[in-house]
Symmetry: C2
Subunit: 88 residues, 2 copies
């Protein structure tokens, strides 16, 4: 696994919280900011890092930018982590 | 998941390499150092962080200290990561 920075990106609890929010479907930045109660600048920094690690993807629809989980990258991470587990 | 620092500890490629080595069974510090080609001081720093995050456990047997994967903590991490995957 070459994506070292995935772990750095996941090391922040607010970024993990954003991922948990997106688990149930796409959200736009405004919706995430409301739920997380952080400033737009802080949110935009977190989203940039999550996108940079390919953990989330963004796409535009009408006037909104939506964010959603990139399950492909999580599937790779799951495979990597699975090799160390005890439950098979 | 409260163990924020698990991800920080996993963010280093040498520490991930140590985990990969231990996947096939316990090793002592000398064996790990030989395979990883790092100084004892650097190894001891990595082992301290891995132990601190409960990713590995150490135990003494005769004159050697052995290290092994703590599968329980990985099982928790697997559960957390699994919620974001696409393959069910």
């Amino acid at each position: 696994m070459g994506e070292t920075n995935i772990f750095k990106v996941l090391a922040d609890s607010q970024r993990r919280e954003i991922l948990t929010m997106l688990k149930n479907g796409r959200l736009n930045a405004g919706e995430i900011a409301d739920k997380l109660q952080i400033t737009p600048a802080a949110l935009s920094y977190h989203l940039k890092l999550l996108k940079g690690a390919d953990l989330i993807e963004e796409y535009k629809e009408k006037n909104y930018i939506y964010y959603e989980i990139n399950t492909t990258v999580f599937d790779e991470l799951i495979m990597w982590v699975n090799q160390f587990g005890g439950k098979k």
